[in-house]
């Protein structure tokens, strides 16, 4: 009985492996490389331009991040971002634009639950874990650094 079940499982896995679409590793990576690189270049050009207006590096990079976040969220609002992600993959998800998108898209979907609790809570359904892990890691690193020095 269990042998029969095993054989069936094996057959099933074999079938699933054959039918499930295989990711196109190489072409996906090339797309991710070029779009990701392009987003970073846009950030770099903005950074240089803002610094040329006489702002220091730290302020300039904060402004760059804010501009990138706003642009990504605006494109998400228009519904364009998802179309670009279909092509770009990680090239847009891994830069800060992906974080910005992860805030808006679940929030938009839950608008019918109200703009206070629906949108307000869903803003953090994906961004929450990122902030929790990021903040925790930074506090722990700070404490370890304080102990060492």
């Amino acid at each position: 009985m269990s042998q029969k079940k095993n054989r069936m499982n094996q057959k099933y896995n074999y079938y699933v492996n054959n039918v499930a679409p295989k990711p196109k590793y190489i072409s996906n990576c090339i797309k991710a490389f070029f779009t990701g690189g392009t987003v970073c270049i846009i950030g770099f050009i903005l950074q240089k331009w803002i610094q040329s207006k006489g702002l220091d590096q730290k302020t300039a990079s904060s402004i760059v991040i804010m501009i990138l976040i706003f642009s990504a969220q605006f494109l998400t609002g228009l519904g364009v971002f998802d179309d670009i992600v279909k092509f770009a993959g990680a090239g847009l998800i891994v830069p800060i634009t992906g974080f910005a998108n992860s805030i808006v898209s679940p929030a938009m979907e839950y608008k019918k639950e109200g703009i206070v609790l629906g949108v307000g809570a869903k803003l953090f359904s994906l961004a929450g874990p990122v902030l929790v892990w990021g903040f925790s890691a930074s506090v722990i690193i700070g404490i370890i650094y304080a102990i060492i020095t």
Partner: protein
């Protein structure tokens, strides 16, 4: 020449993300969390700072750069305010980005409606 370094660094970080998403069962959300945490840990170990020196925006615009700002802020906070700085430093350093993401994100989510899927 800087432009080339920025492009290559940013590109490589995104390719790593793409490989994680295609090759493992990690979802994009997991990749976001992983990259931010990884950026913070690598900064704490002193590995990410040289990458930022080399790749500039190529290393700060991707999500490990967010972790980098958090960890760097916490370390600088400890230098100036002691143990309290470990709590305030990282969040202070990333406050503009986080606040912008929340405020703009909320406004846009309220104004726009999701595109109906065809």
């Amino acid at each position: 020449m800087d432009y080339v370094y920025v492009f290559i660094t940013g590109g490589i970080i995104c390719v790593i993300g793409q490989l994680l998403m295609d090759g493992t069962k990690l979802t994009p959300a997991h990749v976001l969390v992983l990259f931010v945490t990884l950026g913070a840990v690598l900064t704490g170990l002193g590995i990410y700072e040289p990458i930022v020196d080399f790749g500039k925006s190529g290393a700060t615009v991707p999500l490990p750069g967010f972790g980098y700002s958090l960890a760097k802020g916490a370390i600088e906070g400890v230098k100036s305010d002691g143990l309290l700085g470990a709590f305030s430093g990282g969040i202070e350093a990333t406050a503009p980005g986080v606040a912008a993401a929340v405020v703009f994100g909320y406004a846009i989510a309220v104004i726009f409606s999701p595109k109906t899927k065809k």
